[in-house]
């Protein structure tokens, strides 16, 4: 072993991605400035101005109005506010509304509050199936909706899936919901920066954003929410963010988040092409190295089908955890699924919903690319893969004997 540690090949950008220099600069500039945006004096006003400029920038880049941006601590909180806050408001307005329709492949940040509402408050979660490529079954959604539209509080469908990268047929979801006047929320955490996300065009009522997935700092995000929509807040207090989210505004992080959104959206076209080409190289190389590897998710490229930066691969006869560890030992970092459930020896609910059997689901890896990724990163993975794969397969065989 060399004494100098090998450079890390980071292929886990969907878990979190390093901050872009623009975000670091913004954070650095505002962090030491101080000032509470709610204070009236000059440093308070300056902090307030930073927040409002950030709000305008984010709004502009995601096709929303500034007043529709509610800053909070991240994607998980935003999903929680969307699910619980909208459910509470809609359910209180009409107690018959107890049902929430959501895709079966949502992130835990969305599914867990749903489950909690079922357990704690008697809500009914209706999870809509997806096809083998992870795309929502719109007919199933229609059937579920039309069973009784009057008892539906909310529909939530993610823009794109975090594990396999499949983009959902949101416009069809929105059109269906509109027939019955039901609000639609979408978790766009993985999509922003990788797909053309425009809140006004989408027809959505609420949308979740997270900063650390697109080159901003961790601990900040936003719920984009139409002003007419009522929501019961999760956090009560000083009444910040038009009473939807109390708590001193996190000025530096918000400023850096906005800088990252700006970069991610303005460079999206070019960056998507670059990442798509890298992904192509990765997928082709994996198929050569491991001919029986299966690439999951939507096959066709393009922003209405799948994200350009995620490649999800099943390696038959292997344990994903073994592959992960063996790659990690060589300085190659990827994941077996979403970071949140990584480490829990459980097959991903997303893969199971796609109809994969438990064994295949456990033998899968997610490679996700980002702004620091290069051909050299992909090539290091491809160079390591044959021997890693051989060892993982041998270990699995030995384990089964």
């Amino acid at each position: 072993m060399s004494l100098i540690s090998a450079p890390i090949t980071y292929l886990d950008h969907a878990a979190t991605t390093p901050m872009v220099p623009e975000a670091i600069a913004a954070m650095n500039a505002t962090m030491l400035e101080g000032g509470n945006p709610s204070s009236l004096h000059a440093s308070g006003r300056r902090a307030r101005r930073r927040v409002e400029e950030a709000r305008e920038l984010v709004a502009q880049r995601v096709g929303a109005r500034p007043s529709e941006i509610v800053f909070m601590s991240g994607g998980t909180e935003a999903d929680n506010l969307a699910v619980k806050g909208l459910y509470w408001a809609r359910h209180h307005a009409d107690p018959a509304r107890r049902r929430i329709l959501a895709s079966a492949v949502e992130h835990h940040a969305l599914l867990d509050p749903l489950t909690w509402l079922e357990k704690a408050e008697g809500a009914v979660a209706d999870l809509i199936e997806v096809d083998a490529s992870c795309r929502l079954d719109v007919d199933a959604l229609r059937a579920a909706l039309e069973r009784d539209p009057s008892d539906v509080a909310l529909i939530s469908c993610m823009w794109a899936n975090n594990e396999v990268g499949t983009v959902q047929p949101l416009s069809e979801v929105v059109a269906l919901a509109a027939e019955h006047g039901i609000p639609v929320h979408s978790d766009a955490v993985q999509a922003l920066g990788h797909a053309p996300v425009d809140f006004a065009d989408s027809g959505l009522d609420a949308m979740t954003l997270s900063s650390h997935k697109l080159g901003g700092p961790t601990g900040v995000g936003a719920l984009v929410v139409r002003r007419e929509l009522d929501a019961v807040p999760l956090l009560h207090g000083g009444g910040q963010e038009r009473d939807l989210r109390s708590g001193t505004l996190n000025t530096a992080a918000i400023t850096a988040f906005a800088a990252a959104v700006d970069v991610a959206v303005t460079r999206r076209d070019e960056e998507s092409r670059r990442l798509e080409a890298l992904r192509e190289r990765l997928v082709a190389g994996v198929r050569t190295a491991v001919p029986d590897a299966v690439v999951n998710g939507a096959g066709e490229p393009g922003p209405t089908h799948r994200l350009p930066h995620v490649a999800h691969v099943t390696f038959p006869g292997c344990e994903g955890d073994s592959l992960l560890m063996l790659l990690d030992a060589q300085g190659i970092e990827c994941s077996t699924g979403s970071a949140c459930s990584a480490g829990v020896p459980q097959a991903s609910h997303v893969l199971i919903a796609m109809g994969m059997d438990e064994l295949a689901a456990r033998g899968s890896l997610r490679f996700s690319l980002g702004w620091t990724s290069t051909e050299a990163d992909v090539d290091r993975l491809l160079a390591a893969l044959p021997s890693v794969h051989e060892r993982a397969r041998a270990a699995a065989k030995a384990g089964r004997r």
Binding site: S39, S43, L110, G219, G238, G239, A339, S341, G343
Partner: protein, 384 residues
Amino acid sequence: MRYLDAAATTPVRREVLEAMWPFLTGEFGNPSSHHGLGDSAARALEGARRDVAAALGGRPGEIVWTSGGTEADNLAIKGLALSRPRGRHIVTSSIEHPAVLEACDYLARLHGFRVDRLEVDASGIVDVAQAERLIGPETTLVSVMLANNEIGTLQPVAAIAEIAHREGALAHTDAVQAVGSVPVDAAALGVDALSLSGHKLGAPKGSGALWVRRGLALEPLVHGGGQERGRRSGTENVAAAIGLAAALSLAVEVTPGGPRPRGPVEALALARDGFVRDVLAGADGAILTGDPVRRLPGHASFCFPGTSGEAVLLGLEQDHGIVCSSGSACAAGSDEPSGVLLALGIDPEVARTAVRFTAASPADLDGVAAAVVEAVRGVRSLGD
């Protein structure tokens, strides 16, 4: 500029930013990821958890990271009350921060809790005898802050917690303003939960923690990835946690007798006393709000009857470069007189003339009294 609004927020300390820096750049891993970068982020997070626990007199497993003081208060109150509602009765004080009052109000509106607010005396100290009467076998939770943000008054939290426990209720305290300024030892206070916010201590906004006694059930507010052992989901903000730990280590010394503030607390209180004396002597009719002795060391709050608080603030900022506030930052800009001051029995007209000075070091107060006296006179002469 002389910044005398430390109770609203403090700038991030350079050492804190330096401690955070690696985690904002190269060490960017997600602590839930199972690879090298993820593991090192997870290790750093646990180190920060140990430091924060030690600085509060608790154990690492008792710290839940939050996005700030507001979330910590909400999590404590809703989380404890909803996981063990008992007789659905909450006792708090009439001078809590909105993060506590509004969380209690939410429980009243949507979960059928009865909420009693303890009265305070003219100096802002809660009525312990009333607490004895109100807290009973029905009581779910008692929440009384350690130090008030507007008037700096320190509360008899240990006595309140003892009453709560005698009746089988839980006790929470909002220690956001107290930590770093007065000794705060969660175990010695006898409370079950304690809230903390980073940006009052030189850590960034968006950092905070709830200390919650081991073994207590806590209904989460945010569900999802299951981080923080399910008590607070969401990708952990490692840099913020590191920042909070660094700021706390700079502000609090862990001694065999418990955590103590490192700062020049006595000197600060002495300088504050001199400042108060000079202002009261120089500005006719000025009154000190809150308790003259049982208060945060760097905290001086006044009413200047016959002026407008906002006008005094403006005069101080424009003519003297002194930055202070009219009360809590959250309520800034609203015309409503402060609920805290009304609870002290102060007339609404007088309450509208409130000005608060919160200093971090004795030198911050040098020469300020004369400027205050001048500003108050200036505003009064305009009114004539």
